[in-house]
Symmetry: C2
Subunit: 228 residues, 2 copies
């Protein structure tokens, strides 16, 4: 990559960070904690949210979702069945579609978000293990879902993503017995790129580990630092 | 997306297409057919290639691989065990890494490719269902691998990718009995975004369908139009 390109990229990321900070200030002012949830396509983000968001209200946390997709509103339609406020953000715009959410896209969705009625906003990013990790959107916490069907070497192949997240949710563990996936090797690879990072084992299908994920979301919503 | 951004994007894609045509002319001159192989992370591109490339030589086709990854050479190392020429192309360069191969990256790798010694070049793209479909690299054929673990709605969520490909390889069918995946619904979604597109059912793990994929690669290598 030659120097001009590097400078253009740095400018883009710098502008993005400025807007991300503005988003963060707006979220803080509203007393809303924000999770940027990322994964490869089909790792199970939406299925996990269907399980984990259900029951959050009983624990005193009112969730909302900002659903990022290239096109369509399949996941938003699924989540709205939970009677949780869901805002759809599509990244297609004449072009083939952006492969990630950036701070400005999230900013454009702010007026549609009922920030006064929620405590925790989950931003479900576009399914992609590269660019979503490069663009901050103003979240308190970055979290990712890795499916055991994707193989053990993914932390080594997409290190920025695994390094960017404070929690790695290892999903589809109900399939472990049918796969050659070596969990210990995956965890060693994860430790290599992000030493000490926390992880959870889950199955959105059986519900295994979902309670721990829900507890984690409750804890994030309760973190100090919010204005309200 | 406002107009300026659209114009910048069009310029980028226009420049990319120009370089892709130059690549294509070089491939044609060398008599090499080229497949741009795409998928989400962990759909099984490399495992399928390990199976399908083995035995190609006996059918008179000498394959080569250009391996695209953000970082590392795990897949290239695996494929080089087949005694097939493999060239690694990494997309990280100071930035977090590009999420796709473009024509210029492929062009930069041309001097490392033994075009005189191969008949078929497989370009294994970065694992991503969005941008790889937007950037032509000079291939004769675009092909994708969709894993049944990713869910039925993927053609609707990433339509450009499914529309760009002339063959969709539906992989990991050995897991079908352990999933809620509805193959008929997936095929209906595929037909909706890309009517009449061909597909193959495969399992890189059991070898199911690999012979059909290999036959398909042989047929591509034998297509008319090459200069040599």
């Amino acid at each position: 990559m030659h120097k001009t390109k590097v400078r253009v990229v740095e400018d883009v990321l710098d502008a993005n960070n400025t807007i991300a900070r503005a988003n963060r200030e707006d979220f803080d002012r509203a007393g809303v904690k924000v999770v940027n949830l990322m994964s490869a396509p089909g790792a199970g983000k939406t299925s996990l949210l269907e399980r984990a968001l259900d029951g959050l209200a009983q624990q005193g946390v009112r969730p909302g979702v900002l659903e990022g997709d290239v096109q369509g509103s399949f996941d938003a339609d699924r989540l709205s069945l939970l009677h949780v406020p869901v805002t759809q953000l599509n990244t297609d715009g004449g072009f083939g579609g952006e492969c990630h959410l950036d701070a400005n896209m999230v900013r454009s969705a702010l007026p549609s978000l009922p920030l006064d009625e929620i405590d925790l906003l989950i931003i479900e990013n576009v399914g992609n293990l590269v660019c979503p990790a490069e663009f901050r959107v103003g979240a308190d916490v970055r979290m990712m879902v890795a499916s055991v069907t994707e193989g053990e070497e993914k932390p080594l192949k997409y290190p920025l993503m695994f390094r960017a997240c404070e929690l790695v949710v290892i999903n589809k563990i109900d399939l472990l017995e049918h796969l050659d996936f070596d969990l210990d090797r995956f965890l060693a690879n994860l430790e290599q790129v992000h030493p000490g990072v926390e992880y959870l084992l889950t199955s959105a299908r059986t519900g295994d580990g979902v309670e721990a994920l829900r507890d984690r979301l409750v804890a994030i919503a309760a973190r100090a630092g919010a204005a309200a």
